[in-house]
């Protein structure tokens, strides 16, 4: 991922955008943080957040004009949060209110501030902290400007006095009773000050002065021409803002303070010969891109204080604070156990993925996160910026594979299982017997063949009956495990083999039995005529249900995540269920918002813990039995105790009991099922002499040991290889305690150990384990 792409992707995630209130506040008070502190009754923390942005919190807590209100999300539901009332609570309930000031070393530049209102004083404080020599000129006998006109009950004079104490902690020179302008009566002229000082901030408020008198260029309206972003005037070292700029009709205490800060920044830049305009988009009020979902939020009226003159009691403040939605996005994290598992959100994850791929020496901490994603695409679906973490993770996996940095254990088993399915043991391709060509070919896929080989056989026979101009059969794997694992070359190789076989059959129309195969075929071969078995059945009709059709069931449909954008396919599923007479209910997140069963992206192999969380979460969304149409979805849900049917279980009902509760076959059985399906079809449909099962070793495996083997992903074939090797060479250990043998064998990258005892009718397996460290010798 290049830096530029990283930045673009980071921008797609809006979680770190400020809430609307903070963005609309010209000085960007962290309202969310402050309100969250009040929720916890931590007024001190709340007021510190106010103080961080506003040099005069006691004053602003009484008189703020609250532009934040207009941007409050709560407004869309009922009423905005009473931010200023809450600020007042913070101030009134904090005994200590101290701002730590660390003035910077003195600079040799002097700055004149003309007008000691909120704007001028803010600029003075900001510049004084930076070490500039600041001289204030105020026409009146007191600093404060127009706030002195506000009645005591609205703004207690003690608040002013306490806030202005800061002016004594910063080296400022304050000159009172000094009237400045360029009028001939003026004792001190602006021209003179401008020439004497390095920079000037003109913040005289709404005094009745003819703008002409300042000797500055005017705008079309007759006021002083002031740059809206930098507050620069026509004279390079003079800046102007506050009510002087806003005018008497648009006075805003918080904007005046903001102007003071902006002017201080401009003066600092001006004196350092830095650009006045660069990167200032986020100064002053702006519109946040943060998205916050308000669906389901109950209306709740703003808390009114019992005594409006006194403001909120602490109970009232907490109650009002709890109305705040503490706006954030997290739309994707809310719906995805994987994204929630790593305790952050995509903006952070994208950066972690980028950093991970940049590491030359050291630990790749994000490997686990990159490999755990199920690549299901739900995040993109719910994200206001359409960010897809799956694409990012898959790309990262490809890079890891290319660089040789993919931890071998993550996908090794799944890839070997895939290789089994693409090998002669399962792969198979034929025209229908009696036909020299195929109009259609059925590609059931490796997992459906592993989970329900009998259904594959029935479906093939049904298709042959219904489609009269030749239905070929292709057994194999679509290669998606390689694609998910980031193994580009292996995926290409697999795709090539499929394409070759398909062309050999005369490039017929393809009907897939598995929704994932369908998505892969559609993506890889846009010109291929490919259809899912479900839309086909919807058109050609269902097999005869026989004399004893299944009793109607009440089912919820779990859509496969690989069909997220296949509305027609999903519709067919519902229609088929309706035709079969079953009652269908929908999960809250279905169709394009469906969730993954935990198998996608090889999540189950990379991170079983998260996969199980996913299965559990999804299973709990309905008490009804699930109806799936992907073999892995069915088996995954059933593995964790969720009653689940595959649609084929209903189309080809058997007399088997508890079809929905039955656990799917284990890893070894899955491979055996595929191999047996091929042999059976070869023999029964094509009358070919199938390869015989080559194994002459019989294993005796208890339920407990079987479970261990499943957990460790050790196949019967691995165990047979170990025992055969040990029995053939004699290289084994004897456990004198129980007279069993212990032997090992390393067929490829993994060394398998088996503890076993020969029996009359085979080998009793006591235990097995494996490791990847290689024993190189002594």
């Amino acid at each position: 991922m290049e830096q530029k792409v990283l930045k673009e992707r980071e921008q797609q995630c809006v979680q770190e955008q400020p809430p609307g209130c903070t963005a609309a506040c010209p000085v960007h008070v962290d309202v969310r943080g402050m309100v969250a502190a009040i929720q916890k009754e931590d007024y001190k923390a709340g007021v510190q957040l106010l103080y961080k942005m506003v040099p005069f919190p006691r004053i602003i807590s009484r008189i703020c004009d609250q532009p934040c209100q207009q941007a409050c999300k709560r407004q869309e539901i009922d009423e905005s949060i009473a931010v200023n009332e809450l600020e007042k609570s913070c101030v009134d309930n904090s005994n200590e209110l101290i701002l730590n000031i660390t003035p910077m070393p003195p600079k040799d530049k002097t700055i004149a501030i003309i007008g000691a209102g909120l704007s001028g004083l803010t600029a003075a404080v900001e510049l004084g902290k930076k070490g500039y020599h600041v001289v204030i000129f105020e026409a009146k006998k007191l600093v404060g400007g127009s706030i002195r006109n506000i009645p005591e009950h609205q703004l207690p004079r003690q608040n002013i006095a306490d806030d202005f104490a800061i002016l004594k902690r910063i080296p400022l020179e304050i000159n009172l009773h000094v009237i400045v302008n360029n009028h001939k009566d003026a004792r001190t002229s602006l021209d003179h000050i401008s020439a004497t000082f390095d920079a000037v901030y003109l913040a005289t408020g709404c005094i009745e002065t003819n703008p002409h008198d300042w000797g500055l260029a005017l705008d079309v309206g007759g006021g002083i021409a002031i740059h809206p972003v930098t507050l620069a005037t026509s004279v390079p070292n003079i800046f102007a803002g506050g009510s002087l700029y806003l005018g008497p009709d648009h006075k805003s205490p918080i904007t005046s303070i903001s102007h003071g800060k902006i002017a201080a920044n401009s003066i600092d830049r001006f004196l350092q010969n830095a650009s006045l305009t660069a990167s200032r988009e986020k100064e002053g009020a702006f519109t946040s891109l943060l998205y916050t979902n308000i669906a389901g939020v109950e209306p709740q009226r703003r808390v009114r204080s019992a005594d409006p003159n006194k403001g909120y009691t602490t109970e009232e403040a907490v109650k009002e604070a709890k109305r705040c939605l503490l706006c954030e996005c997290l739309e994707c994290v809310k719906v995805c156990e994987y994204l929630a598992h790593f305790h952050a959100y995509p903006k952070r994850y994208v950066r972690e993925v980028y950093n991970n791929s940049s590491i030359v020496m050291g630990v790749h901490h994000a490997n686990k996160m990159i490999n755990a994603c199920n690549l299901c695409g739900l995040c993109e679906q719910v994200c206001p910026g359409n960010l897809n973490m799956g694409e990012i993770c898959q790309e990262a996996r490809r890079i890891m594979v290319k660089k040789g940095k993919m931890p071998p254990r993550v996908h090794d088993f799944a890839l070997r299982d895939m290789q089994f399915s693409t090998s002669e043991k399962f792969a198979f391709s034929r025209h229908q017997p009696g036909f020299a060509s195929s109009s259609t070919v059925f590609f059931p896929g490796c997992q459906l063949s592993a989970s329900s080989p009998e259904h594959v056989k029935s479906m093939y026979q049904f298709l042959c009956k219904k489609i009269t101009d030749g239905v070929g059969l292709m057994l194999g794997c679509c290669g998606v495990p390689a694609d998910w694992a980031g193994q580009e070359n292996l995926f290409k190789e697999t795709s090539k083999a499929i394409e070759d076989n398909w062309r050999k059959l005369g490039s017929p129309r393809v009907i897939t039995g598995c929704p994932t195969c369908y998505s892969v075929f559609k993506r890889e071969w846009p010109s291929m005529d490919v259809e899912s078995i479900w839309t086909v059945l919807d058109k050609i009709g269902l097999p005869d249900q026989g004399e004893e059709p299944l009793a109607p069931l009440k089912l919820v449909v779990h859509d496969a995540c690989t069909t997220r954008h296949e509305a027609a396919l999903q519709q067919s599923i519902r229609k088929i269920l309706h035709t079969l007479g079953h009652q269908v209910e929908e999960l809250e997140n279905s169709n394009e918002f469906t969730e993954c069963c935990g198998y996608g992206g090889l999540m189950l192999f990379a991170n079983k813990e998260i996969a199980h969380k996913m299965i559990k979460k999804r299973s709990q969304q309905s008490e009804n039995d699930f109806l799936t149409y992907c073999a892995m979805c069915r088996d995954n849900f059933a593995s964790q105790g969720k009653q689940s049917y595959h649609l084929l279980d209903l189309i080809f009902p058997t007399r088997q009991q508890d079809v929905a509760g039955k656990k799917g076959p284990g890893y070894s059985e899955r491979q055996e099922n595929r191999a047996r399906l091929k042999r059976t079809l070869q023999k029964e449909v094509w009358g070919e002499l199938a390869d015989k099962e080559q194994c002459n070793v019989t294993l005796i495996i208890s339920e407990n040991v079987r479970q261990t083997l499943e957990e460790l992903m050790i196949l019967d074939s691995d165990i047979i290889a170990v025992i055969s090797q040990a029995e053939h060479t004699g290289n084994k250990f004897k456990n004198m305690e129980n007279n069993s043998y212990i032997a090992s064998f390393k067929p490829a990258s993994v060394t398998y150990w088996v503890e076993y005892s020969p029996q009359e009718d085979g080998f009793l397996v006591h235990n097995a384990y494996s490791h990847r460290l290689e024993i190189k010798g002594s």
């Binding site: 250990f733 004897k734 004198m736």
Partner: protein
Amino acid sequence: MDKQVQNIIICNTCDIPLALGKVTLAYLGNEFPVELYKCPQCGLVYIPEELAKGKMDQVEKALEDK
């Protein structure tokens, strides 16, 4: 555990108990000398389950994330 191995595991071919000896383990281009139980005569190395599932697993994971 160690004593158990010495007392109960014997090399099937040589019919003698195992003894600790030097072995090199390798993974992803890294090699480390370790002491493991092996047959003093034919050198066949024994890896107990606890070692495979414990320390060896940890080392493998650490190396895989390097």
